[in-house]
Symmetry: C2
Subunit: 342 residues, 2 copies
Amino acid sequence: MLRPTVHDVAHVANVSLSTVDRVLNGRDGVRAATRERVRAAMRELGYERDIMAANLSRKRVYKVHFTLPEGPNSFMRNLAEEVRAQTRHAARARIEISVSTVPPFDGRALAADLRRVRETAPDGVVVVATDDAEVRQAVFDLRAAGIEVITLVSDLPTSGRAHFVGIDNVSAGRTAAGLLGRFCQDRQGRIAIVAGSMLLRDHVERRLGFEQVMHAEFAHLQLMPPLEGRDEADRVEQLMSDAFGAHDDIVGIYSLGGGNGGLRRALGRMAPTPWPMVVAHELTAQSRAALQDGAFDAVLHQDIAREVRHALDILRKLIDAAPVDPGAGLIQTEIFLRDNLP
Amino acid sequence: MLRPTVHDVAHVANVSLSTVDRVLNGRDGVRAATRERVRAAMRELGYERDIMAANLSRKRVYKVHFTLPEGPNSFMRNLAEEVRAQTRHAARARIEISVSTVPPFDGRALAADLRRVRETAPDGVVVVATDDAEVRQAVFDLRAAGIEVITLVSDLPTSGRAHFVGIDNVSAGRTAAGLLGRFCQDRQGRIAIVAGSMLLRDHVERRLGFEQVMHAEFAHLQLMPPLEGRDEADRVEQLMSDAFGAHDDIVGIYSLGGGNGGLRRALGRMAPTPWPMVVAHELTAQSRAALQDGAFDAVLHQDIAREVRHALDILRKLIDAAPVDPGAGLIQTEIFLRDNLP
DNA sequence: GGTTTTTTGATGTACGTTAGTCAAGAATTC
DNA sequence: GAATTCTTGACTAACGTACATCAAAAAACC
């Protein structure tokens, strides 16, 4: 009832262990007919190589590199911290993690870093991608060098990256709209949108999803054009204060980027009556406090720790050439109210 | 820079491999002073035993048993299916899974099954617990026999189970209230609660959390006493129809158990105007359809696949006597609207 | 046919651990 | 001080796989 081993395969195929080994590891010097006999035996027995024993034998160490944007952003700081925290755990699974940071929103710098990383010949790379042609090329070159690439948090499609690990941002935007629309279903007025930057793919996607659902399901609410807060609290505060000054019928706010501290301050100073319903992104000290004191109603969140673990998991499978469910990588967006704060 | 091995420990402690092994595996015949020397060397080097190599050597197979309630409940059917699906995967990690099913809501039968399972001497047991003194005793006896026990979906505190894997049901109830209250914030009227059975701990907890928040935050809404639908669609349909007949001001419904098909039918036949806001539990074919056609507004869900994987993960760690974060096991409750259905 | 080349088998070592045996050495007992 | 017990070290085999070497067998070539 135990798992079949190479010995069993050798026996069934009526060949020696050496031959099974040659077939298994793609070494040459095996006649096609013999190779097929061995393959048939493996299929018949349902043989699967014991990866742990295999790794033990080859002293395999998975070299994985993370390239992250630096900057004061508390979300990215958490990310970096989480990667560091996983380094300890990963060592147990023979994964050796290295990290480099690059300036945010700078495609050129990111591409340069990826080229540098390629020289260190890692087995896999995890990158928070900036959407840029040069970055796309750098990812493509990594792939060409046999290095597996996974995008994290912000995707880079058609770059050859094997998987994206993060939330579905269009869906997150739709969710925000579904919540905010229902919160405001019996009200008339405007909905304000505060974005970070429309250069970030995840922000663009959130806005897209949000507007889709708002238009389709909650047409009685009037969408204002997005304010670009660049994830900076002061700028967000200024923009929102201006908006409150210009309109007294803002009944809902969707904050899809950073700088929530500024939004709080603007609300505290001059929120209209009734207090607008607010949906924001990322559970941080600011947004948590805002939930608790009732300033925000809901916060959409991605569990970064889970994403990092998930990325490492998928990467290991890719490197082992094990099958990976193509749907893997999408993390469910979490929704927090003041009532289910962890 | 590689991980230290027993050889390194032996060298540093200036003892033989045999002695290190004796200390490591708690065999006797080692003087206290020597043992301490070895321990010091392990600490100094940061030695951690390579579990994969260790398991390979001892041909360890983790025997894990699942005891699940049977019955027509689609939630439990999914659970059983998921356990079966994990069996294949688990085999790769040397985990051998067995499953038994027992009649639902029957503490005596469950306890009997656990006693039977104890005879098969598994390393660990995962059980969907019915809250019952006899079950508590059976779990306690398993623990006494050195068998690790984890409760799944429905907890059984003070039974000695090592962990509970599932959602925080009080928090789920609070979340439901937070959503429903905000959905109905500009309305006046009654809120109906449909439960499965108040004999199930998870249902009791959901109701508790729901009422907590409703009373505290949304006192303008009037809570009706819970209807016990026993997770049966027909009964739920009857109860809700009666409720609609008796009251024309039901503005919100919280369905915290099964039988959502019945709720849908009752709503279709005689929902008041405006259509009540509905929050239900578990994403099934019924609740998904109800979200899509707008009958339900939100569905709280627990990802069973994740729970099963999580339970196996924790169990493996427990059996290896590895440290397990006491907070592990709590799975975030997912929230689905029609806008973020997977 | 004999020779060369290709294919196959036998054998050994290693990975880091478990687990055992046996004998030498040290400490303890009377 | 001798007999006894306890402690320690040296050695071996095993887990399932990888990888290398050498010899034997089989196929291909001229």
